[in-house]
């Protein structure tokens, strides 16, 4: 009796799982005094405990990953040799090295356990984590273990790796990074030393009588400037040459001209005229430019902006061959294969249902997560996910030719390369540099003509104009302004692929929204009970029933009822697509569609919204009305954007919420419903053909085409570690209400770049005064060039911060 009392008292305080920290409904699952929310969590604890790895729990509080929604996967397909070779980095038959993406990684404990894998499997030689990239590098001995066993081990402790076949190109980007680091190091080294050797020149120290010293310094400078000119600065020449070959003058053309003029003139001055040259200015300029490049190259390593459907789809499927089940890589799937699709597995190709109760969640395709039931002989489209027991289907199309995947055959996805080139053309700096280059070349020729009867002076004036007019301030202000903007966006959980997107974002004049998951919240819906109010004991009954169901509607109802639960369920029968029939404490409860529950329900008005009907002991109680919850700040965002932009809404859903959405979007903006992924892409294309610059905001695979086609495609995500389709930027759903500020801020950034360009023009005009007289001394160059560069950097950085503060972004 006493025991029972303590037990009851205990249920009042909240219980948390020792493994994952989730709230536990009771303390039935436990080991000693440690309580677990589910058996999965308990199993992981046991595995770790057996290997003396409980340190895991002492580094961070409740570090585990909940196992409640874990689905046991069959990894037999990892024995397939072709597949194996695609997944591993290196093998010599004895030792294998591989890299896994583990998005679940989130704390120090995760690092610790993943680096101690060798204690769990003796075949693992070592494992090393890169936390920021959420990757683990593992090497193991082929004799003692296998790829499959390693994956199974990771899965068993909650870190199942993301297995996909198209993330191999990242390596390339990384080595590019290293090159930039090398170049900066060398340019910095040479810059410092050249400055040091130029000090006598700066301070006008009289070195008469020590002419040989001056010459040694000058020649040392030449030696030191060689790696700067030929190695650190080579990208500017390469890029300028590439641009010119395509008959296009980019910002690197005047830069390359300036650098070359500096170098040649310095060499000539030192060798033939016993002068000092401008090698300090040259190396300083290159050094600053490279720093700017580094600053601009901020990337979000954990985010992937290039995913296509292959990342969503399984890499292997189970097929029925004769009487045996085998797993094959999804690429080897052929028309007519019999597939076995288990709970929560994705259908990889358009198929026909052969056997079983299909209950398909097309969340990926339409954005709508309510499962749809299908009967034998009906078509199931690729991208759907089976919820419930296993089904058997026969494929009728190849993976890449299915309804959804065909989207990726659209030309929007093929012009990737050209797209990048295009983005360079429109950038402000490049547009300006075209006129700029022509002007300075003309000025240089004029300067040379003025002094044509004195060849030395003419040469001096010609090169001086090129040196002074070198648009270093412009070349620096762009990366610093945009790089800073990118960082400020990042702080507000708005992650852009690169800095070019900011310029594009500033230029848009039309915004298209997706509905489900974009302007509505993904995992929370508002649930309202219509009918006579339920009393406490009835609430307990309903909550206890829905607790047992994984259906999203059940979860939504479970979350809204705030009462205790009872475990006393005598009967529980869930019929996919219909509802739940349960008996608790000899009360009969029916929950589900209208027909399933009771025909005697009151008349109701069909308005497309989702309803779950309830009857207790044969008596109709009413229904739960479940509607999408719009994101907070939606109406402010829309009404603000409405003034300056043409808005549109594209929804894969029915017209159920049209009236409501009208209130948000106003009368003149377009609302389209029942839009397929292809429709969405075409809509964007039509807007673009009418001369609009389109910003598309969406989520999920169904928007993938539209996101790709649009000028700027932003995908919204509740958890940025999750998959998001190929896009230009990822916006954390928390920051949705800041969207209007982001767009305005991108415009401010462009204005800042423009004004810093004006500022640099002022410097250039002053410098040109000297250049035309042919009296540009190394000292003036040494002052003017760093001054203009540093002031441009300061100006843009300070101003972007000021504007961001004013917009409330920092």
């Amino acid at each position: 009796m006493e025991q029972l009392e303590t037990l009851e008292r205990k249920t009042d305080i909240k219980l948390f799982c020792f493994h994952c920290g989730d709230e536990c409904p009771d303390e039935i699952i436990h080991i000693e005094e440690k309580i677990f929310c589910c058996n999965g969590c308990k199993t992981v604890y046991e595995i770790l405990n057996n290997s003396n790895l409980c340190n895991y729990y002492s580094i961070d509080q409740n570090p585990g990953i909940t196992r409640k929604h874990h689905i046991k996967r069959n990894y037999d397909f990892l024995n397939d040799t072709d597949l194996k070779l695609k997944l591993i980095d290196f093998t010599d038959g004895k030792r294998t090295q591989l890299t896994f993406d583990i998005p679940q990684m989130h704390c120090s404990s995760c690092i610790w356990i993943l680096e101690n894998l060798y204690k769990l499997n003796a075949g693992i030689i070592s494992s090393k984590v890169n936390f920021l990239q959420k990757k683990v590098f593992i090497s193991f001995q082929d004799e003692k273990t296998s790829l499959k066993e390693v994956v199974e081990l990771l899965d068993s402790i909650g870190y199942d790796p993301q297995l996909n076949l198209d993330n191999r190109k990242e390596e390339k980007i990384k080595s590019g990074y290293k090159n930039l680091y090398y170049k900066i190091g060398i340019a910095g080294f040479c810059f410092g030393n050249i400055m040091l050797l130029s000090f006598p020149e700066y301070l006008s120290i009289d070195v008469t009588g020590h002419d040989e010293l001056k010459r040694i310094f000058a020649y040392l400078n030449i030696i030191l400037s060689l790696p700067v000119f030929f190695y650190s600065a080579n990208n500017y020449f390469i890029s300028a040459w590439k641009g010119l070959k395509k008959k296009f003058i980019n910002i690197d053309v005047p830069l390359a001209l300036g650098i070359a003029a500096l170098f040649l003139r310095s060499i000539i001055e030192i060798v033939f005229m016993n002068g000092a040259g401008y090698l300090d200015s040259l190396s300083g300029l290159v050094f600053f430019l490279l720093i700017g490049k580094l600053f601009q190259n901020k990337t979000y390593e954990t985010l992937n902006f290039e995913r296509n459907y292959k990342s969503y789809f399984p890499i292997a499927v189970t097929i029925q061959k004769g009487k045996n089940e085998t797993t094959i890589p999804v690429e080897k799937l052929r028309i007519g294969d019999r597939l076995i699709i288990r709970n929560n597995e994705l259908i990889p190709a358009d198929s026909i249902l052969i056997k079983g109760n299909a209950n398909i969640d097309y969340g990926f395709v339409t954005g709508e997560s309510m499962p749809i039931s299908r009967v034998n002989g009906e078509m199931i489209y690729a991208g759907g996910k089976q919820i419930g027991s296993a089904i058997e289907v026969e494929t009728i199309k190849e993976v890449s030719q299915s309804y959804l995947t065909q989207l990726w055959n659209n030309k929007a996805f093929r012009k990737d390369q050209e797209h990048e080139q295009e983005s360079r053309i429109i950038s402000f700096a490049n547009t300006v540099s075209k006129y700029f280059t022509i002007t300075i070349l003309a000025l240089a020729v004029i300067a040379a003509l003025i002094w044509q009867n004195n060849s030395t002076l003419a040469f001096n004036a010609f090169t001086a104009v090129l040196i002074i007019a070198c648009p270093c301030a412009l070349a620096l202000s762009t990366p610093f302004a945009l790089g800073n903007t990118l960082r400020i966006f990042g702080k507000n959980k708005f992650y852009l692929k690169n800095t070019f997107i900011i310029e594009k974002l500033a230029a848009i004049n039309s915004i298209v929204f997706d509905k489900t998951g974009t302007i509505t919240e993904n995992n929370s819906s508002s649930v309202e009970f219509i009918g006579e109010e339920l009393n406490e004991s009835e609430k307990v009954l309903v909550k206890s029933v829905v607790r047992n169901s994984a259906h999203p509607l059940s979860t939504a109802i479970f979350n809204t009822i705030d009462s205790k639960i009872t475990k006393n369920i005598t009967l529980y029968d869930e019929q996919p697509g219909k509802g739940i029939h349960a008996i608790i404490n000899s009360n009969e409860i029916k929950l589900g569609s209208k027909i399933f529950v009771n025909e005697g329900l009151k008349q109701f008005y069909d308005d497309y919204s989702t309803k779950v009907f309830l009857s207790i002991n044969g008596e109709a109680k009413g229904y739960f009305n479940i509607t999408n919850k719009y994101r907070s700040g939606l109406s402010e965002t829309i009404s603000e954007l409405e003034h300056n932009y043409e808005l549109a809404l594209l929804s894969g859903d029915n017209e159920g919420e049209k009236e409501k959405l009208r209130n948000y979007f106003g009368a003149d903006n377009e609302l389209h419903f029942r839009q397929s992924p292809h429709n969405k892409l075409d809509f964007i294309l039509r807007l673009q053909e009418s001369g609009k610059k389109v910003l598309m905001i969406g989520d999920g695979l169904n928007d993938a085409g539209a996101l790709k086609q649009s000028d700027v495609g932003i995908s919204i995500s509740d958890n940025t570690n999750n998959f998001s389709p190929a896009c230009d930027g990822i916006l954390d759903s928390e920051s949705f209400s800041l969207l209007k500020e982001f767009i305005k801020f991108s415009k401010s950034s462009m204005k800042i770049i423009f004004s810093s360009f004006i500022l640099s023009l002022v410097y250039n005009i002053i410098g040109l005064g000297f250049a035309f007289q042919g009296t540009l001394s190394p000292l003036i160059a040494a002052i003017l060039m760093p001054l203009s560069s540093i002031s441009a950097v300061m100006f843009t950085t300070v101003l972007t911060n000021v504007f961001a503060k004013r917009r409330g972004l920092i």
Partner: protein, 63 residues
């Protein structure tokens, strides 16, 4: 004055040494991951203390 040339040579050598050290650091991947090592260094000590406590356990058993 020739002492200056010797000094400059020496200073360039020292500076080049640092440059090489930097290039080696980049090459060996020290700039690839700027976060994990900061966490990893804390584990090392725990491992030692773990071994230490095990050793003392063994010692206790023996006595």
């Amino acid at each position: 004055m020739s002492v200056i040339i010797v000094l400059i040579g020496a200073s360039l050598l020292v500076a080049a040494g640092f440059l090489i050290a930097y290039l080696w650091a980049v090459k060996s991947g020290q700039y690839d991951d700027k976060y994990t090592p900061s966490v990893r260094i804390l584990f090392e000590e725990e491992k030692k203390s773990e071994i230490g406590s095990k050793k003392s356990e063994i010692r206790n058993e023996k006595t």
